[in-house]
Amino acid sequence: MEDLIYLKNVVTLKLDQEKCVGCGMCLVVCPHAVLAMNDGHAQIEKKDACMECGACAQNCPTEAITVQAGVGCAAAVINSALGRQGNCCC
């Protein structure tokens, strides 16, 4: 099944190829196959498919990946804007 894609050109995912050691952990943990391996280094292949879950950055041993990780949940955004407890529906 074709992976669903959300809004274009909004994602905060960044990869510093200088720091990348090519371990491939980011490819393993990404649930949307955003990253690919090229010539011994990871590279961002499908940026708009990224949901900013933060799995790649969390598991990068050299901190080559940065992303403003968060849960894409409107209820959570509303709750935090209203200063309420409780993140999301889950």
């Binding site: 959300y6 649930p31 968060g70 949940c73």
Partner: protein
């Protein structure tokens, strides 16, 4: 709520123990509060939980055994949780469990203490022997808990140590669900505990073939899709949550319907009030049921836009009822009012489904909300104003 931030959890604590005379509680793991229900310290899992089928004698004591076969009670619990009944308290005790008769070579599978997560894991492994390590995620599923950081490096390392996991094993490997990766830093787990983290497949059903192929996941096992069935099972919670608000505003709708109008108050409640109640209910169904189900086929990427299409469909069917009376000013105002109200409600509920979906980014949701929320509020306020006014205009 990311943990550690480059400081060393267990190492840090050990250093503190030796060098600091300050009360330990205030310096140990300052980043994250202790898990819910365990503020006074970790407890072993209760051996009398209804799904436990026996005890396994091991070097570290008796470990509760579970089966891969779910009971009627387990299945009924899952149905209730899907309908939002007790969903936030549907838990198992954190700790170590034995699936089948595991030994020191058996794999260790890590899960969350949301009972549906735990049950889906064991159900996927008929005829297998494995250790199941349940983390305290406060009763939240793996992916959401990882996003919050409660399914995280710190909880994993602490739970392993508390359960004496290493003493029942002659290997040092853990299999984690791939979707726990937002909370767990595998290289830090290795550093703090010596255990290697292997990320298993996203879906528990893929675990048998993952295990049989020497822990190799196919590319398809690593992709989180959002097929029809998965969207469908999420609909009841969306509907129940919306209906809770609906039941609160229902008396208001009926009361407003009773104002003005051609007949007496109660006559109007039965006619205009009832119509308004049905109209809002239709908009809720459009936003909370039809939008999730038809998600991939609705035009546009923003969820509020997808909801707007379904709300438009609701408005179109309401227009069919209202068109005969729209030759008067009041009738026309009522018609336009519902053409704004129904899409506003459906767009809001569609937007809310971003939280349940499996592919929306926070940056995207914030961008969408910057235009969607003002439009939803604007359309709802103007629509409501027009409808109320129409009750007093001939």
């Amino acid at each position: 709520m990311r943990m550690f931030h480059g400081t060393g959890g267990f190492q840090e604590r050990n250093i503190m123990k030796k060098s600091s005379k300050k009360p330990l509680e205030s310096v140990v793991f300052p980043m994250v509060a202790l898990p819910p229900g365990e503020e006074n310290g970790m407890r072993p899992a209760d051996l009398h939980q209804p799904f436990i089928i026996g005890l396994l004698k091991t070097a570290i004591g008796e470990i509760p055994r579970v089966s891969s076969a779910l009971s009627g009670r387990d299945r009924w619990g899952a149905i209730k949780a899907r309908w939002d009944v007790g969903r936030m308290h549907y838990t198992v005790d954190p700790g170590l469990y034995a699936l089948g008769t595991p030994d020191e070579n058996s794999p260790v599978l890590v899960s969350a203490n949301y009972k549906m997560s735990f049950d889906r894991l064991r159900r996927a492994l008929p005829g297998r022997d494995a250790w199941i390590l349940v983390l305290n995620t406060g009763g939240i599923n793996v992916w959401c808990a990882a996003g919050k950081g409660t399914f995280g490096t710190q909880e994993l390392v602490r739970r392993m140590e508390f359960c004496n996991l290493s003493k029942v094993l002659n290997h040092r490997r853990l299999i984690l669900p791939q979707l726990s990766a937002p909370g767990v830093a595998s290289h830090k787990v290795k550093k703090f505990s010596g255990f290697e983290v292997v990320y298993g497949p996203i879906r528990a059903e893929d675990l048998p073939s993952f295990l049989d192929s020497g822990m190799k996941a196919t590319p398809a096992m690593r992709i989180k899709t959002f097929p029809f069935r998965e969207r469908l099972v999420l609909v009841p919670v969306e509907l129940v949550e919306a209906m809770k608000i609906y039941l609160l505003i229902l008396p208001v709708l009926l009361f407003l319907g009773g104002l003005g109008g051609p007949g007496g108050f109660w006559y109007n409640v039965v006619h205009a009030g009832f119509f308004a109640a049905v109209a809002v209910l239709s908009a809720i169904v459009a936003g909370a049921v039809l939008t999730p189900i038809l998600l991939p086929w609705l035009p546009g990427r923003a969820f509020a836009l997808k909801g707007t299409w379904m709300g438009g469909l609701t408005a179109a069917s309401l227009v069919a009822f209202l068109l005969p009376g729209s030759h008067t000013t009041g009738g026309l105002m009522e018609l336009v009012g519902w053409c704004l109200l129904a899409p506003a409600v459906a767009a809001y509920l569609g937007m809310n489904f971003t939280g349940a979906s499996t592919y929306t980014s926070l940056s995207g949701v914030k961008k969408e909300m910057r235009w969607a929320v003002p439009m939803e509020i604007g359309a709802a306020v103007i629509g409501l104003g027009l409808w109320i006014t129409s009750r007093f205009v001939a």
